[in-house]
Amino acid sequence: MSALAPKARRRFGTTAIVYIALLAVMIVGAVLVNTAGRNFLSPGNIRDILTGMSVLGFVAIGQTLVILCASLDLSVPYVVSLSSLLGATIMAGNPANIIPAVLVTLTVAAGIGLLIGLTVTKLRVNGFIATLGAGLIIKGYLDTQYKGTAGSMPWEFQLIGATGVGPVPVSTIIMLAAALLVALFLSKTRTGNHMFAVGGNEQVSRFSGIRTSRPTVVAHMLCSVMAAMAGLLLASRLGVGSPTVGTQGGYDLLSIAAVVLGGTLLLGGRGSIWGTIGGVAIFAVMDNVMSVIQLNPFLKDVVRGVIIVAAVAVYTGRAIESRRPRFGRDSQSSMYPSVDLQLAMDQEKERDHEPTS
């Protein structure tokens, strides 16, 4: 059957649509910014947009992996805050401590991700609840341990958040490098490939001989590590660690929205890192435009909410036509069962008729 051809077309298509949407947002943004008497494509503005991308970008890259595995991570804002504090307090203004501080922070984050991953896979706790709980536990620790900002970042580390190559900030370059690495990880390694399989249908992948827990655990670990990178980056910008920096950014829900905006299926099994980067870019451009035209900050949230829903509605409306019927669908693994089934039954009918006619 022609199942393969539309599949290839679609995978290209979803990411392409994300970037078409990004282009559209940029054009609308440029017009709006120009009417406000500013230049959208000035180096300063481009730098602002790219800077805005970097933190959410890190978090969203990790979130993509977790969502691919049909899980969620709501603990990221607290991991971000915790890592900003850990990094800043261990460095304590001394450049010699940069490398140990980064290593310790990333290791702690990986440990948190490991615990979450094991809770999800071994204890069979839904990812939503496991990470909601883990976030609350970290929040409890942060609230108890830190009364306010703490530690200080040495100047050398603050440069990461402050310098750039031309209009491109170093932080964005690091974020894009991380995206490239993760994209390669997804496409080239066995565990990366298994993430799609496990997210698509865990039972089928188990029957196919995949150790289903490993990809999920790795995804959660990488997600926490990425959140920690975001935390370190925020700390390098602020110069100190802050216990509220993650929650203020609302990175949990925003990163999930960016991932879904990037064309990744919230139910897992289908998506791409570059789509996510496109989604993050849409957010960054939107925020930038709304800041430049000095929109009321409360209206910003309204616009954001409407655009998230509208954009995702466009993707899913399109996906109805092109989804391959999938075995083992139930309420959790398929959003459009009737259409798929109808399609499947029609095809079945056609095939039955062929030999007789």
């Binding site: 809770t119 204890l123 939503f128 019927p325 075995f327 139930d330 069962p337 079945e348």
Partner: protein, 374 residues
């Protein structure tokens, strides 16, 4: 599976099964609640006095009502993240529109209910007809509602509504023997819970669980899935509205009232043994989950635990509760048909709807149809 087993049970087995229910995920929340209430009473004996206890129920009422609304959405297999923002929005609307004019109470109350139903309708239609995941729809609604309300009030929502309106949240029938006061909030909660129990027993209420369990079979059974899902969102938004009416009396008008209620409600529902993803759960247990959560906070207060650790302990408890119910359900699911396909039976194609397995058996031909297409 379970239905066939039930038929074969003898009388004594049935009694032991009833006891087992209490430690099953379905009943565990009641056990947890009893333990927590006993622990609070041990620390602070005055808690068990009827007057104090009714105050406790009054405090839980908004949370329990929100949890009951969230129950319907979750059991239908969706999420409603917009509830907290809707509570805030309704609180601010009440504060701004009623002002100090008692005569406006009724029209504004009706307006709030209509607004709530409208929010639910939009959530539901976008989820069911436009096929946007409810997580995203309600997330967008959450941002838009909160932003819209703050924009409307200029970021500083103040001005409490007339005392007559606030009476619903903080007043009650006074001079009652034993209890001293029966708060209106408790009566509202009782009415909402009774209505919810009645609703789950109607054919429509049962179809909600069917949709959450398996949308495809529900559709083939002739259920209008889009309307069932939409109605659950309307129910959850209406319950958030009622909670808002109670909270405006109890807590006053502030943009932070209602903040985080969506996650508290989801936590309470999950504590009540309702499975995320839908198809399994009991509305009374969901309400009991809200009581258990508030009892937990009260206990931590009395035990002198630093308030900063409240969140941490809440986190541990919800993970433990869900891990427990997952372990029990997994134990139940270990039927030969899943673990050993060699015994001649076909392996279960679905992991989740284990309960519905017997009904779906006759549809075997249907499954093979799908497989061939693959």
């Amino acid at each position: 599976m379970s239905r066939q087993a039930d038929a074969q049970l003898s009388g004594s087995q049935r009694i032991s099964r009833a006891l087992l229910t209490l430690i099953s995920p379905r009943g565990a929340v009641f056990l947890l609640l009893i333990v927590l209430l006993l622990a609070i009473t041990a620390l602070n004996p005055s808690f068990a006095e009827p007057g104090q206890f009714i105050r406790f129920i009054q405090r839980v009422a908004p949370i329990a009502i929100v949890a009951i609304g969230q129950y319907f959405v979750i059991v239908a297999g969706e999420f409603d993240l917009s509830m907290g923002s809707l509570v805030t929005a309704q609180v601010v609307i009440a504060g701004n529109l009623i002002g100090q004019d008692d005569s406006r109470s009724i029209p504004v109350l009706i307006g709030m209910l209509v607004f709530g139903a409208l929010v639910g309708l939009v959530n539901g239609l976008v989820t069911s007809l436009l096929r946007v995941p409810s997580f995203i729809v309600t997330l967008g609604m959450m941002l838009a509602l909160l932003g819209g309300v703050l924009y409307w009030t200029g970021g500083a929502a103040t001005g409490n509504p007339a005392d007559g309106f606030r009476e619903i949240g903080r007043g009650g029938i006074r001079n009652v023997p034993v209890l001293d006061i029966i708060p209106w909030a408790v009566l509202v909660l009782a009415a909402v819970l009774a209505a919810a129990i009645w609703f789950t027993k109607t054919p429509f209420g049962r179809s909600i669980i069917a949709v959450g369990d398996n949308e495809t079979t529900a559709r083939f059974a002739g259920i209008r899935v889009w309307w069932v899902k939409t109605s659950t969102f309307i129910l959850s938004s209406l319950s958030a509205t009622i909670a808002g009416v109670l909270l405006v009396g109890y807590a006053g008008v502030h943009p932070k009232v209602g903040q985080g209620y969506e996650f508290i409600a989801i936590t309470a529902v999950v504590l009540g043994g309702v499975v995320l993803g839908g198809g399994r759960g009991w509305v009374v247990a969901a309400a009991a989950g809200a009581f258990a959560l508030e009892a937990l906070f009260t206990l931590l207060n009395f035990a002198g635990v630093a308030s900063t650790w409240r969140d941490g302990i809440q986190g541990v408890i919800i993970i433990a509760a869900v891990a427990y119910s997952a372990a029990v359900f997994r134990g139940r699911r270990k039927s030969p048909s899943v673990t050993s396909p060699i015994s001649g039976k076909e392996p279960e194609p679905f992991a989740e709807p284990a309960h519905s397995a017997p009904q779906s058996r006759p549809n075997e031909g249907n499954h093979s149809t799908q497989k061939e297409v693959q």
